[in-house]
Symmetry: C3
Subunit: 141 residues, 3 copies
């Protein structure tokens, strides 16, 4: 098992603007502050969701859009390093007006209605993502 | 983007009682300790769920109840200040006996079966919620 | 309300191996390091999910398996003490290729495809789980 140990440096609470790209807003924040290692948690609502599903057999992402207003029930993710830059990996759960839940790997194109994000920033050398043969993904090594 | 930075003051683990109101129990705890800034995470089960969906077009909440026992798969939320008092904002994901997932903005009326809550309390001036024209919500400013 | 207060000792980021048992990997880590009190958050994907639903009327768990590749949208849980040993309690939300969400109490048998786990370890005497008459569960006392 790959294992890293950290101390918390600080906790950021963010509110991206209405209309912002959910993933892009978190990426911009992480890049502008050079955050190498962090854990994410968020909630709110989007005007539309843009998601990915990783096909484990074909080893490729399948992208899809849910083009309607949705609550963001919860988002979870992290920041680590890929090719020397901060990389944001996050999954989220959404719900519609009937309370039905959806979700997936968050892609660019989730348009923020209102969002509250916690970014827990850690001190120390970040996990590094490298190609992982068994899955075809870039995983911590 | 609105942005606040904090250090963690302490972490509370709570177990509300069977029969407690989920949201009310967290609100009471935050008020009794005057917790101004915190992030929430929880899991457990409820006897019934009482939820809201924010209609982004009409700019109003639509309330509904799922009147059956449900697992609480995860709850996410925060404490900040609204009109000078601690205000709890939380969304949760639930599942039924077939594993089907539901969720929404947590309203009063979710009756606790068993619940385990983490409240991460931060030091420093809390985010303040003020009316936000673009969405009709009270958002951090 | 049962209430404990902690300071964070350290934060572990883990990546269990492809093929590992999700719950077993977290249990092994907690046991090997004698982690008494912790909060968990994770995301990733599994080859299959093995879940439980607690029937509040019959007071027994009903186990079921979703035997297909699924995204792990989010997992939440904790480590506390049961009969003197670290005990892991965790619920998770999953999604299929259409983004449909499922979930439940995580049982042994969730086979990891790729997983990223945060374990927030706390300092101080752990919560202790004891039989709770009203629910038939082992709850913090």
């Amino acid at each position: 098992m790959t294992h890293y140990t950290y101390q918390t440096k600080q906790v950021h609470l963010l509110r991206p603007e209405t209309g912002d790209d959910l993933l892009g807003a978190i990426e911009s924040f992480a890049e502008s502050r050079n955050i190498g290692t962090a854990w994410l948690s968020y909630l709110g609502a989007v005007k539309r969701a843009s998601l990915r599903y990783y096909d484990q057999t074909r080893r490729e992402y399948v992208d899809y859009v849910i083009d309607q207003p949705l609550e963001v029930l919860t988002g979870t993710g992290n920041v680590s390093k890929l090719e020397g830059r901060p990389f944001v990996h996050t999954h989220a759960v959404f719900s519609d007006e009937d309370g039905k839940a959806f979700g997936g790997h968050v892609n660019h194109g989730c348009e923020v209605w209102a969002l509250e994000v916690k970014i827990e920033e850690y001190e120390g050398a970040p996990p590094v993502r490298l190609p992982h043969d068994e899955t075809g993904l870039n995983l911590w090594t």
